[in-house]
């Protein structure tokens, strides 16, 4: 079965076992096709997005446009197509994380570990690296034989070719990742002229190393021992969750056709499982799904694809290993050798059971909350004010008396112009009778820039209470009266009792 680098003494094990390398056999079928579709989709997006420009079809980036998706950490501006996000918009990142978490909970409770088996980067990159490995080193049997061979020129050549291909993919992944933070065309230019900055070099190397290490070597160790999802996804299942499962009622007792009717008494006919072991050979985490639900199972359904093909060959219905709910599995009554009704790969459970899956309280609650948060996020971003204002009042001197007893308070306004073109703004202040602006009320701020503007407000000494008075300072765009930001502030008037 699996190659072992350690002879296990049957009676005693060390508490820390050497890892047994997994050689997944290649598999094709419905679910393998789904997985490769996800590989193409996710990687098209990941590798492709940094190359998009905004506005679309903008030519050179100097004057015409910029990278469409760019997280400019240094300038603290985050570009998502036409939207520019600033650190003050951090709440949308929080909402995005909430949406991601709730989506995960929702589809996990409905369909099990579909994230793990089809879309997780660990799976995606392992698939890509495995594909490369198969192309160079061959199918499962040949790979195992090659590893067991002593080193030779041929082995060195094959291993070197594989590593070179892996490193190339890993480096391109690292470069693309950094391309989300430094414009990727700039990165390309710097690569060609050997002028990468130290940090760019470091992060490209780091992500390339992580990709190469995780997808080339660690593989299932990540899923089994490092990933937190593996541990709590089990908590999100219940009896109505669709999981990859073996039907022991139909499959047991397992045995090869050559033994059928020969070694066993006729009263104990064999189940559909012929014990070919293919479900174990294709498993990327090296488990036997026939043992039941296990935390190592990443729900990739490779065993389903493999078993269905075998069932086709031996003339039995598909679905010996299938997606089913645990409740549905119980309801599929064990029948005499091999016939369990419908021959579909999907569950044979009743219609009522399927609806029960979707109409569970937790599914409805997750869906409702998810919908609400998606709606709130969309509304929030759509109605964001394009002007941001923070008022920082002078503290060293709270107030100053100028001619005729008029009192002056000084503030600094931090104004952020959210749109990508320069804009002129005008300051307004109200809240006290006779409150006026003494400094220049108009100023200009460049696109997506922040500017610190000094403001001097003056009011008669009897305009309000002694001490602090609440006022409001506003900044309004001259070309759009609706683009306005207001902030509360305080205006200090002197305490006139018995002072100089």
């Amino acid at each position: 079965m699996n190659a072992s680098h350690e002879t296990i003494v049957p009676e005693q094990d060390l508490l820390l076992e050497l890892r047994r390398k997994v050689y997944p056999r290649s598999v094709s079928g419905v679910f393998a096709r789904w997985r490769w579709t996800m590989v193409w989709l996710t990687q098209l997006v990941f590798y492709g997005l940094p190359w998009l420009s905004w506005p679309p079809l903008a030519g050179s980036w100097g004057e015409g446009g910029r990278q469409a998706v760019l997280f400019d950490l240094g300038a603290r501006k985050f570009y998502l197509l036409g939207i520019v996000l600033y650190p003050q918009d951090f709440v949308y990142l929080t909402l995005l994380l909430l949406i991601a978490a709730l989506s995960l909970f929702l589809f996990t409770t409905v369909a099990g570990r579909v994230w793990c088996g089809y879309a997780c980067p660990q799976t995606v990159y392992t698939e890509i690296f495995l594909w490369i490995e198969r192309r160079i080193e061959g199918e499962r049997g040949r790979r195992m034989a090659l590893d067991a061979e002593p080193w030779s020129a041929k082995k060195v050549r094959m291993k070197a070719a594989k590593q070179a291909a892996w490193i190339a993919v890993a480096l391109w992944t690292g470069i693309t990742f950094v391309g989300y933070f430094t414009p990727i065309r700039t990165l390309m230019h710097e690569l060609a002229t050997f002028t990468l900055t130290p940090w760019e070099l470091f992060w490209i190397g780091f992500y390339a190393f992580a990709t190469w290490g995780n997808a080339g070597f660690l593989r299932e160790q990540v899923c089994k021992y490092m990933c937190p999802y593996a541990r709590f996804q089990g908590v999100m299942f219940d009896r109505d969750t669709w999981v990859v499962t073996y039907d022991p009622g139909r499959g047991e007792p397992r045995g090869r056709s050559v033994k059928r009717g020969a070694a066993l008494p006729p009263s104990a006919p064999l189940g559909d499982c012929i014990d070919c072991g293919l479900c174990v050979q294709v498993c990327p985490t090296d488990i036997d799904i026939r043992d039941g639900q296990q935390y190592e199972c990443i729900g990739c359904a490779a065993c389903i694809d493999a078993c269905d093909k075998v069932m086709d060959k031996v003339g039995r219905p598909r679905g010996l290993i299938r997606y089913d709910t645990l409740r549905g599995l119980e309801m599929a009554a064990p029948t005499p050798a091999g016939r369990s009704g419908a021959g579909a790969t999907v569950a044979t459970a009743s219609v009522a059971s399927r609806w029960r899956t979707l109409l569970r309280a937790r599914v409805l609650v997750y869906s409702a909350v998810l919908l609400a948060i998606c709606g709130a996020s969309t509304l929030g971003i759509a109605t964001r004010s394009p002007v941001k204002l923070d008022v920082v009042r002078d503290r060293g001197a709270l107030l100053r008396e100028v001619k005729n007893g008029v009192i002056e308070n000084v503030y600094r306004l931090q104004v952020t112009n959210g749109v990508e073109r320069a804009r002129r703004f005008v300051i307004g202040a109200d809240g006290l009778p006779g409150l006026g602006i003494d400094s220049a009320p108009e100023f200009e701020v460049a696109g997506t820039e922040r500017r610190s503007v000094g403001v001097r407000l003056r009011a008669p000494p009897d305009a309000g209470e002694a001490g602090s008075n609440r006022i409001r300072i506003s900044v309004r765009a001259l070309d759009d009266p609706d683009a306005v930001a207001t902030s509360g502030a305080t205006f200090f008037l002197p305490d006139t009792r018995g002072s100089r």
């Binding site: 021992y225 008396e401 220049a440």
Partner: protein
Amino acid sequence: MADFLHDGWGVFIALVVPLSIAACGWLAWSTSRVRVAREPDGSVGTTGHVWDGDLAELNNPLPRWWLYLFYLTCIFALLYLLLYPGLGRYQGLLGWSSTQQYGDEVAAMDETVAPLFAEYLGRPIADVALDPEANAMGERLFLTYCSQCHGSTAAGGRSFPNLTDDDWLGAGTPDYIKTTILNGRQALMPSMAAAIGGGESVDDVAHYVLSLSDSVHDAEAAARGEAKFAVCAACHGANGEGLAAVGAPNLTDDVWLYGGSLDSVKHAIDNGLDNHMPGFGDLLGEGKAHVLAAWVWGLSNVPAEGAGQPSAPAVDRPMIAD
């Protein structure tokens, strides 16, 4: 925070920490040697404990590479303590300290900006005041170092001079401003109460002083006070117009650094004034002081450009006169 001062603590740490790291490593190694029996049918055994009647815990083996990673952390820890300070007074092979790192960073920064300031130092202050980049630097320097006292728009407050007007206690030249920034200023007015005659005389002189600037005053008291003003004229001048050489203010204008009310003036005459600006030469160096002086001088000597232009300093000049 500063309780464990005795050197004995350093010795304690120097002994306990490496021993603990070694002990952890040994513990991991020795437990990795333990062998556990499997069940007769070959499946993994349990830890032997049973809870709630039938709940047992499987004793599955852990990955060996966890052990190797742990050994790596022990080695890293010991290496780290060899290279960096951490055990008592031992300074570490690399001789690193946070103050040294700070000093290095400041020196590197100074070296980077030295040519920039050297260029400005070679030009007269009045010329630097016209340079938009120098203005932007000057404003940022001002906001960092000067705005706490002089206000973020440089208009000052009680006992902190207004730097945006033309009124200077001294010469008001660019060099005067730069010297002030570098070395500070001391304002000293002695108490004049005794010299004038105390009590009601102080009141009369105060009214007279207010009359000099056409502020609200009592004409009769002012008339009496005029005669007693002679001792004040020694510094403030016969007609009260001030003496830049000794830093005595002009009493005939509207600028009152310490308050222009009757009580304020009387207080100054009675008690004198002692105002102090610290010198910033050690903190800033001559380059920054030069650029700052140019910006401050420009506030009252260089007309503000149109507010729409990006080169205009953000401190906007008053549209309404005082």
